[in-house]
Amino acid sequence: MQRYRNVIKGSAAELNWLNAMVKKGWLLADVHGSRYDFTPTTTNYRLFTEYVPVDVETTATTNAVFTVLATATLKQPAIKVLYTGTTDPKLLAGIGTVTKDDPLQLKVALGLRNHLWNLVNVWTLGWVVAFTVMLMVLVGIQAPGWAFEVGPIIWLIGVVLGISQIVPIHRQVRQLRRQLQDYDDAWRPTWHIFLYKMPAAPDLTPIEDLGAWRLVGQDHHGTYWYDLQTMGNEATIREALQPLLPPHTEIRILSNLGLWPL
């Protein structure tokens, strides 16, 4: 049996679904992209999914506890997802299993979201080409008015279907970002920070994790201008900066909209 499903590989949602399939008598046999192959089983299995670096050998398929059911190699990020199953009574009873996958799950989710966005973009570009050709044909054969509406409707259906797949993935991305506090490459408000009367460039290393800092410019009066992308607010930034700066330093922080705070 085959099933197609766009889920984050290695996520809890995928694992719950695969374990539910086992309970219905279908054991995972292979994974190709969004296609999952199943074989009938009467044995009670508990499945696990884990991320493994691509250079780690996973060819030893069985041991006393686990059986390797399938592997899926992802391109973005370059990682393998290992699907294993066990019939060990203790593991079936739910004893603790040590894994360490959370940060990679975010990268896999981002990879899937980008892939789906690309599909929607390719669909739109393909439609532009196809619709141009269709218009030429329709005008040539002097087709009735309703025929010209078919193309945009098909495009719209494709886009709505694509976006309906992306939205749940995007929700999970946001959830994982909040859990992991990982906002790398995510949009964050930009704060413009001016430090006046500085004797030298400040050492911002202790507050690097506040967000993404970028030195925009400086002048010979000792003014330093930074852009900071962060989820923190003005008070947090000021509080973090003050201990690192000489007492007479003046700090001005522009709001994320680029306006002076009222």
Binding site: T58, L82, K90, I95, G96, T97, V98
Partner: protein
């Protein structure tokens, strides 16, 4: 002296993650890779197990850093064994856990009976 030689690895690994700890302990004696999950189950009295992917990744990482060595037999079996540096890392972890254990034992905590 030994701790000094292996300090870079100790700084990198200690405190050990559960997966690294269990893997290092299970390969204290030479062992085939396929027997490691059974050994972990025995060591933990069937209370803990390492996922196979995590085990493969941890074995790969520890072999790269020569905390364990991997010998491939004629019948293509991987035999893993702890090295001197692996032993030093485990000893440093034992000392760290010993101190933590001593601290926690000073508290009059209820037992789980």
């Amino acid at each position: 002296m030994a701790a000094g030689l292996y300090q870079r690895l100790i700084d990198k690994y200690v405190p050990l993650t559960e997966a690294t700890f269990l893997t290092l302990v299970s390969v204290a004696q030479p062992i085939r890779n396929m027997d490691i999950p059974t050994k972990i189950a025995t060591l933990t009295n069937h209370q803990l197990q390492i996922g196979l992917g995590t085990l493969y990744t941890t074995l790969h990482m520890l072999t790269q850093d020569y905390l364990i060595k991997d010998q491939i037999t004629a019948d293509d079996q991987h035999i893993y064994e702890l090295t001197g540096s692996g032993l030093a890392v485990l000893a440093a972890e034992r000392d760290r856990l010993g101190l933590l254990n001593q601290i926690i034992n000073q508290l009059d905590l209820p037992t789980d009976d």
